[in-house]
Structures are given as C-alpha cells and as structure tokens.
C-alpha cells in the first residue's frame, strides 16, 4: 500500500466512525428524551456530540493527502454527473458543515429543540449517504474485489460498529465526569447510561454476526471473480485476516457481552470504563486491519 491508500484508509475509517457516532448519538438521545426528558438527554449526549466534527475534520484532512492540495478539493467537484469521487467530496463537506451547525446549535442551545433535532437528523442522514458514496467510489467494474455488494455492506457495518462503540466509550466518560461533579445528577443519568450501553452492546454483537456472515460470501466472490485478490488475501495476508477476525470477535463479541452484563447489574460502573474503552480500541484496530486488506488485495482487471 502506498501513502495515498493509507490516506484513503484513514479517510474512510474516520469518516465512517464520525457518521456512525452521530447516528448512534441521535438514537441514544431520542431514547433518553423519551425516558427522562430533553434536559437529561442534553446532559447525556451534548458532551459526546463534540467528537463528531473533529473526527470528520481529521478524516477530511487525511483525504487532502490524496487530493494533493486544498485547491484541488474544488477542482474535484465538477464531475457530479458520473464520478462518485466528486459526489463523495461534496457529501463529505456537506456532512461536516451540517454536523458542525448542529453541534453549535446544541452547544449554545440556539433555536427550539425540535429544530435542533431536525438538523441533527439531517446531518445523520447525510452521514449515512456519505458511507454509501464511499462504497460507490470503489464499485468500479474493472476492480472485481471491490465491485461487489459486500463493499457497501461492510462499509455500513463498520460505520455502525465503530460509531456504536465510540459512543459507548464517550457516554461512559461523560457519565464519569457528571458523577464526579454532582453525584445526584449522576444518579439520574446512570439508568439512562445503562440502558444505552445495553442497546449498544446488543447492536455490536449483531453487527459482529453480520460481518462473519458476509465473509464467506465475500471469499466465494473473490474465488469466482477475483482469484488474484483471493491469493493475496490468503497467501500474503492470511495472518492479518485471522488476527482481524480474532480482534473483532473479542471486541464486538466477548467484551460487548461483558459490557451488556455489567451494564445490567448495578454497582459495576467502574468496569464500564475499562470494558467500553477496550472494546472500542480492539474493534477500531480490527476495522483498520479489515480496511487495510481491502486496499492491499485489490487487483485491476487487464493490464
């Protein structure tokens, strides 16, 4: 892999992380608001919301590496008619801007709650479109290892999985700081936190199932349409693939199960920090490895 592909790897992983985090935060927020009112929901998600824009900003920064310079961002836009790369640029910039507006409004409490929520959901939707666009960039008919339905499926799985676990960690950190400042406020939040973590843990386990389900289909596709890619995958990077699968299983399977259990019982708040942070780190590394394989094994048809 060259620098350009590393830049794209960072761009897609961070971009998907940001989009997934916003989606999961919006869901958690709706859940908290329904259960305990808007004020508690604000308290729960306002802090974690601050991660979305910086992460997306970093993603865009790394994408500049493959667009060579800032001026080129504008030059990359004109072919919206047929180029998914053009579309991706426009969508990614729109996403970060609207997510930024939403964060600002939420932070400063500008405008009525309903308006803020609507903007938040619009940003979320654009984030999901961004994941779709990212996948379409690779659906080139001369790249058989990319041009398969598993590309969008895995991109969306990564989006949700990374987003969910990043939000779990952010929620726990946010809760810890509330608890430290004001034990009473913390108590009200604990219930919400536990509910959200249970939901996230279950989501992670389901997504793990999807990733493992998709794998044999992907391998079969490589076997029939991209033999060379399959060869590189199994011969050169077999170990990488095995480690990736192990890590995602540990993070989204084993640790997520513990997270679910410990979130269900009271008095286990301390372990939540360790569990959510280690689950996130393991899955992040696993997804980076998965994306690495995606780039390292593609072989174009022809000369």
């Amino acid at each position: 892999m060259d620098i350009r592909e590393w830049a794209l790897l960072i761009f897609t992983i961070l971009g998907q992380l940001a989009a997934g985090a916003l989606l999961v935060l919006m869901i958690v927020r709706a859940y908290a608001a329904a259960k305990a009112g808007v004020k508690e929901a604000d308290r729960m998600t306002d802090g974690p919301l601050f991660m979305v824009v910086p992460i997306m900003g970093l993603a865009l920064l790394s994408s500049l590496l493959h667009l060579n310079n800032l001026g080129n961002v504008v030059k990359a836009v004109p072919n919206l008619g047929t180029s998914w790369l053009s579309r991706e640029v426009v969508i990614a910039v729109t996403f970060v801007v609207i997510a930024g507006v939403y964060t600002l409004m939420q932070w400063r409490k500008i405008g009525p709650t309903i308006l803020r929520d609507i903007i938040g959901w619009i940003a979320t939707l654009i984030g999901l479109v961004q994941t779709y666009a990212m996948a379409m960039v690779y659906m080139i008919r001369t790249q058989p290892s990319w041009n398969t339905i598993t590309t969008p499926i895995t991109f969306f799985a990564t989006t949700l999985l990374l987003g969910a676990l990043a939000v779990a960690l952010a929620l726990v950190i946010n809760y810890n700081s509330i608890q430290k400042k004001d034990a009473k406020a913390g108590e009200k939040q604990l219930d919400l936190l536990r509910g959200a973590l249970q939901g996230i843990a279950i989501t992670a386990i389901i997504l793990l199932g999807i990733e493992f389900l998709v794998l044999p289909f992907y391998m079969a596709h490589l076997g029939s349409a991209a033999l060379q890619s399959l060869k590189i995958m199994t011969e050169t990077y077999g170990l990488t693939l095995v480690i990736r699968l192990l890590l995602v299983f540990l993070g989204a399977g084993v640790l997520a199960t513990y997270l679910y259990r410990n979130a269900s019982e009271s008095g286990k708040e301390k372990t939540l920090t360790i569990l959510s942070s280690s689950a996130f780190v393991l899955v992040l590394v696993a997804e980076v490895m998965g994306r690495f394989l995606f780039y390292a094994t593609h072989v174009r048809i022809g000369l």
Binding site: N68, N72, P78, T82, W84, L85, I140, G302, L303
Partner: protein, 209 residues
C-alpha cells in the same frame, strides 16, 4: 454513426521488437517508468514427458505472441467516467484526451482503466497517456508508433472502416474483455491467440513490457 478513430494491430505478424514503444517514448520525451505504448509478450503451454521416455521433456502447445498496446480511446472510456475533475474528455473524432491543467492527480482513473494506459507523472503531478499523436494526425501524418513499426503491423483509421477490412476482434489475451470499456481497436489475432477472459497463459516479464 459517430466518428471513432481507432488503432489497428496485426498480432499475427508482430515480432515484439518494441520499436513502436521506443518511438512513442522518444516523441513525447517520456520519463523513466512511463510508457504510453507497451508491448506485452504472452506465453502459454508447457512441457510434458515423452510417452516412451519419461525423462525426455517435449513441448506441448507451447506458444508465445506479442500484443502492442496503448490507450484504446475507448467508446465507453471508464477513465473519463470516474475522473472527478472532468480532466478527461472524448473528442468528436473519438480521441480521448487528458487536460493536465484540470487533472488533480488523484489517480482514480488509474484504478479504473483496464489497459494500464493512464500513467502518473510524479514530477509534474498529473496523469498522462497516449494522445494519439493528435498533432501529427492533424497534419495528415501517421502516429510515430505506426511509422516506426518495422513489420507494418500498426495502423490507425476509422473504427468502422477497420472493422470492415479486418474483422471485429478487439480482445485477445492478455487484454481485458471489451465489454468493460469498448476499446477502439481492431486486432488480427495471432494463430495461437486466446480469447480475453479465457486465457491459460501469462505475461512474460511484466516489468519489461
């Protein structure tokens, strides 16, 4: 019917001498690593034991032939489709050109083109490829690759006319199947030529091509 300028290549008589590739490189002063025209040697078959003497190996279906390639100025140019900067355009006469003032060097077209025709100039920061010697053709002359060929196996002309004269073959190994980009090329196959997508051989020394 729209006009479409095309290459003709007679694989049955090409000796693989690479004079075309060298002439092209010279005409456009291409740096090391960039070759708009390339000649691939495709070989296949193998050696089997002699039926009466196991230790004696005899050739079985051994073959090798050469394919001279450049940008195919495709009718469905995937390079142009994916380029985000609209730097790649297809002229009225079918010639596909890159505008290097528009190219941002993202190399997306390089991922897409199945002929390896678009090549990145690291130093200049933009993508380059065969321009069909448009300056010479405008003056009624032939491209230098065509003129340089000692075996007279290369030519240019209207795609329809070339097809009427030489037939419809546009995809022999190691070229990709033509449904991908509909290349503007007419090939007279070598007698051992294998159809694209069903090849049993391989390219000899890729680095050398």
């Amino acid at each position: 019917m729209e006009k479409q300028l095309a290459f003709y290549f007679d694989a049955s008589a090409c000796t693989g001498c690479k004079a075309c590739a060298i002439a092209c490189k010279d005409r456009s002063d291409l740096p090391v690593g960039i070759n708009w025209r390339k000649v691939y040697q495709y070989e296949g078959g193998g050696w089997v034991s002699h039926p009466e003497n196991k230790d004696l190996l005899i050739p079985s279906n051994l073959f090798v032939y050469s394919v001279s390639t450049a940008c195919m100025h495709c009718e469905k140019p995937i390079c142009m489709e994916v380029c985000p900067a609209t730097a790649i355009t297809k002229r009225e006469d079918g010639v596909v050109l890159i505008d290097n003032t528009k190219c941002i060097g993202c190399r997306y077209c390089e991922w897409a083109c199945p002929y390896g025709a678009v090549q990145f100039n690291e130093e200049k920061g933009y993508m380059t490829k065969c321009d069909f010697c448009q300056d010479l053709q405008a003056k009624g002359q032939k491209p230098v690759c065509v003129d340089a060929c000692v075996m007279r196996v290369l030519d240019v002309g209207e795609l329809d006319e070339l097809r009427a004269k030489y037939g419809n073959v546009s995809a022999i190994e190691p070229l990709p199947t033509s449904d991908l980009t509909e290349p503007a090329v007419v090939i007279t196959p070598h007698k051992h030529a294998q159809t694209s997508g069903s090849g049993t051989g391989h390219i000899l020394s890729v680095e050398e091509s």
